[in-house]
Symmetry: C2
Subunit: 421 residues, 2 copies
C-alpha cells in the first residue's frame, strides 16, 4: 500500500468535484490500485467553501504557501486557473520536490516547457490530463502510445461553448440568441471572449502539439480565428452542401514542417467530427499504425474534469512517466493553405457589383464552383453573396477579399472557411 | 533501463506486425519509456515465415514449449488464435512466472477468469488490449479509470465484418453480394460464420463486461444473434425512419442485474454509433462521472492490432496492474426487454392474411405505430410486411411471431429489431 498526501489549491467547481470524488471513491481506489489517497490540506481564498464542503479548520488554509512548502504533501493540485499565481504555485511545488497536477490549459500552453524542465531537474512529475478535452481521457493515452506509433495529425473540436453555439445556429438561431441561450444553459461563461475568439482552442492545440509531436509551439505563431464572424445563413448553406461548419484545432506534421491552425472548417457529414454536436468535444487522431481513431465526450463540467484530475494522481502512484522527446519543426503559415473555400461577401446591392466581384475572381485565377445569393434579401442595402471556390490559395483569396472591403462594395468583414476532408 | 525479453508465438498477420513494429521502433521505445524490448525467440509451425521475416535460426523454433519453459524469457505473446493450444500456452506461461499477452478474445472470454487466477498466484500479469476493438485502445484505459468512475453501460460496434456488410446493404446491395465484396476487400474471412452469427461480438462483450463491471459472464447466458436474417429492404426502411441498423454488443448494469445482449438494433441518426460505418468499430461508454464517451477506430488489421499488443508490453514494463475486483450480478434475460420494435414478416400474399396478423397484434395488446408493405412486390407469392410497434415486450412479440410461422402464413423466420436510444 502506497500513501499519497494531496494538497488541493482552488475549491471552485472542479476543486469541489475532486474533493467529493476523492472522498466517495477512497476505498475503491485503495482496493483497486493499492493507493491510499489523503487530502492533507485545502486552500481557497474564500473560507465559506470550506464550510460548505465541511472541511475541518486544521485541513484548510487561505495561503497556498502553506501547501507548496509543506513537508507532508506529495502532490499539489492547482485548480485556480489564470496565469500568474498558478505559475508561482507550479514552480514552488516542483522546486520543493512535489508532483504537480493542473487543469489549467493556459498555464501549460504558455509555460509547459519551462515547468517540465523544472520537474525533470527535481525528479517529480507534472500532469495535466484535464487541461484538454475535460472528461475525455486523451493526453495520458497519447503518452502510452507515442513511441509505438507515430502521430501524423490531430483534428479537435475542443471548445464546448463554440460547438454548442454552432449547433444552435444550425437549427436556425442567430449568433447573439445562441450565445445568450448557451450562457443560460451554463455552456458559456458571462465573458465568453476567450472561447468565442478561438484562444481557448489555441491553448489546447499548443498542449496537444506538445504531446503528439514533441513540439513546443508558441501561441503567437498560430493562425487563430474564432466564430465571431459567422451568421445563420452560413450554416443553412452548409446544410445544403451536405456539410457542417465546426471550429477545429488542427495539428499536422508535413515532412519537417508543422501546421497548427484554429479556424472554422466546412466538413462533410460523413466525417466523424461532423456528428459531434452540442457541448461535446472530440479529437480525431491519424497515426501511422492505428489510422484514424476518434475520442468523443464531454469536454468540461465538474465531474468529468475532476475525474481526469484524479486519474493523474493514480498515474503518479502507479506509473513511470515517459521521457519527453523534444522535436523541432518549421512552422507552416496558413498563407500556404490550398483548399476549396466557402466565401461569404456582404455585397452592396447595386447593379454591376456582382460583375466586379466575379471579374476580380477571374483576374486572380480563382475558379468559382458555385455562387448563391440569398433571394430573401433582395430589397436590403447589402446582400450576402456566397461563393464556393475550387481549390485555391488562402493568401490569394484573403488579399482579394480585403480589396473588396477597401472598394467599399462590401459592408462587413467577409467570411472565409476552408473545406477539410 | 529495464530489459524485457519477449517470446513471440504465432507469426501470422498480427505476429508479423508485432515483429516489424518492435524492430522499427526499438530506439524510440528505449528513449521514451526506458525499456529495452528484445525478441528472444519466435515460434511458428511454418519455417517459411522465419525466412520471410529474416529471423535467424537460433531465434526460431516450431515448438512453443521452447518458449514457455525458457529461463531467458519474461513475456510470452500468443498470436495463434483458437482455444486449445492457446490455453495450454497461457497456462504454462503463467505457471512459469512469465507475463502473458494475447489478442485472442475467445481464449479470454472462455478462460479469462481461470487464467487471471493463475496469473495472480504466480505474481505475473495477463494483458489482452488487442482482443477488443483491435487498434482502439480501450481495455487498459478502462482499467485506469475504473475505480475513479463507475461505468453504467457500454454499447459497442465490435465486429468490422458485420458493420462493413451492413454499410454496403444500406447502399442497396443484398446480403450475399455484400458478403462477397467484404471477402474480396479483406474485411471478411473465407469462413465468416463466427462474425456473421454474432459469436465474435459475444466474445468481446464477455471481455468488456469483465473489465467494465468486474463480472464473469458466460457465453451461454447471453442472448446472441447476428446479421444472418437481414435483408436490403430493412435498411431501406431504416433510412426512411431516419435510423440505421447496427449489430451492437450491449452491457448494462441495472441495480443488481446485468443485461448482456448481442443483436441488431435500430438507432437514430443522431446517435454517435449510427455514424460508425464501413469496417470501423466503436465503443460508447456511459459512466457516472464522465457521462457518455465514445472511442472510434479500426477494430482489426495488422498494424492497429499489433500496436495494441505492444502497448501491453510497455504497460508490463512501466505500470502496476490494478487488482481485479469481482462482482456478482443477476443475469437479465432478453425476454424482459421492453422497447419499440421493428418487425418484418414475409407474409403469404393472400386476402385476409394481413387481417389475421393485425387482429393477433390487437389480441396480444401490441400497439402498432406504423405498418408498411413494399409496393414493388405485389405480385410475389410472399410480401414483406413491416410493422413498427409501440413500446412492447420482446417475449410477447417473439411468441406471436412463432405463431405466425406455425400457421404457415409467413415463409421465413421473421425479423425483430429493437429501437435503442
Amino acid at each position: 500500500m502506497k500513501k499519497i498526501n494531496i494538497g488541493l489549491i482552488g475549491l471552485g467547481t472542479i476543486g469541489e468535484g475532486v474533493y467529493k470524488i476523492l472522498n466517495s471513491r477512497r476505498s475503491e481506489i485503495k482496493k483497486s490500485y493499492g493507493l491510499e489517497l489523503n487530502i492533507k490540506s485545502c486552500c481557497d481564498i474564500s473560507p465559506n467553501i470550506a464550510k460548505k464542503l465541511k472541511i475541518k479548520k486544521e485541513y484548510f488554509t487561505n495561503n497556498y504557501n502553506d501547501i507548496v512548502f509543506s513537508k507532508d504533501i506529495d502532490v499539489v493540485i492547482e485548480l485556480i486557473g489564470g496565469l500568474k499565481i498558478s505559475k508561482d504555485i507550479a514552480i514552488k511545488t516542483l522546486q520543493n520536490n512535489k508532483h504537480f497536477i493542473t487543469a489549467n490549459k493556459a498555464l501549460i500552453a504558455e509555460n509547459g516547457t519551462e515547468l517540465k524542465k523544472i520537474a525533470k531537474k527535481n525528479n517529480v512529475k507534472i500532469l495535466y490530463e484535464a487541461s484538454v478535452g475535460g472528461g475525455i481521457p486523451i493526453l495520458n493515452s497519447i503518452q502510452d502510445f507515442i513511441s509505438i506509433n507515430k502521430i501524423k495529425s490531430f483534428y479537435g473540436i475542443l471548445n464546448g461553448t463554440c460547438n454548442y453555439i454552432l449547433t444552435l445556429m444550425s437549427q436556425g438561431i442567430e449568433f447573439n440568441d445562441a450565445l445568450e441561450k448557451a450562457q443560460k444553459s451554463g455552456f458559456a461563461e458571462a465573458d465568453p471572449t476567450l472561447d468565442i475568439n478561438g484562444m481557448d482552442t489555441a491553448h489546447k492545440v499548443v498542449v496537444l502539439a506538445n504531446e503528439c509531436f514533441g513540439y513546443n509551439a508558441k501561441i503567437k505563431d498560430l493562425h487563430i480565428s474564432g466564430i465571431n464572424n459567422i451568421s445563420k445563413i452560413d450554416l443553412e448553406i452548409a446544410k445544403n452542401l451536405n456539410c457542417k461548419i465546426k471550429l477545429i484545432g488542427i495539428g499536422k506534421v508535413v515532412k519537417n514542417s508543422i501546421d497548427l491552425r484554429i479556424h472554422l472548417v466546412m466538413i462533410n457529414h460523413s466525417n466523424p467530427l461532423a456528428n459531434v454536436d452540442n457541448e461535446l468535444n472530440a479529437v480525431l487522431i491519424d497515426s501511422e499504425n492505428l489510422g484514424k481513431t476518434m475520442k468523443y465526450g464531454f469536454g468540461a463540467g465538474m465531474l468529468p474534469t475532476a475525474t481526469s484530475v484524479i486519474s493523474d494522481i493514480v498515474r503518479i502512484g502507479n506509473q513511470k512517466e515517459h521521457n519527453f522527446i523534444e522535436k523541432k519543426y518549421k512552422n507552416l503559415n496558413i498563407s500556404n493553405l490550398n483548399r476549396k473555400f466557402y466565401i461569404r461577401l456582404n455585397l452592396e446591392n447595386k447593379a454591376g457589383n456582382l460583375a466586379k466581384i466575379t471579374s476580380k475572381f477571374a483576374k486572380y485565377k480563382i475558379n468559382i464552383e458555385k455562387i448563391f445569393q440569398n433571394p430573401e434579401n433582395v430589397n436590403s442595402k447589402y446582400v450576402p453573396v456566397i461563393i464556393i471556390s475550387k481549390k485555391s490559395n488562402y493568401k490569394v483569396i484573403n488579399n482579394l477579399l480585403s480589396q473588396f472591403d477597401k472598394l467599399s462594395i462590401t459592408n462587413k468583414k467577409s467570411l472565409l472557411i476552408p473545406f477539410e476532408e
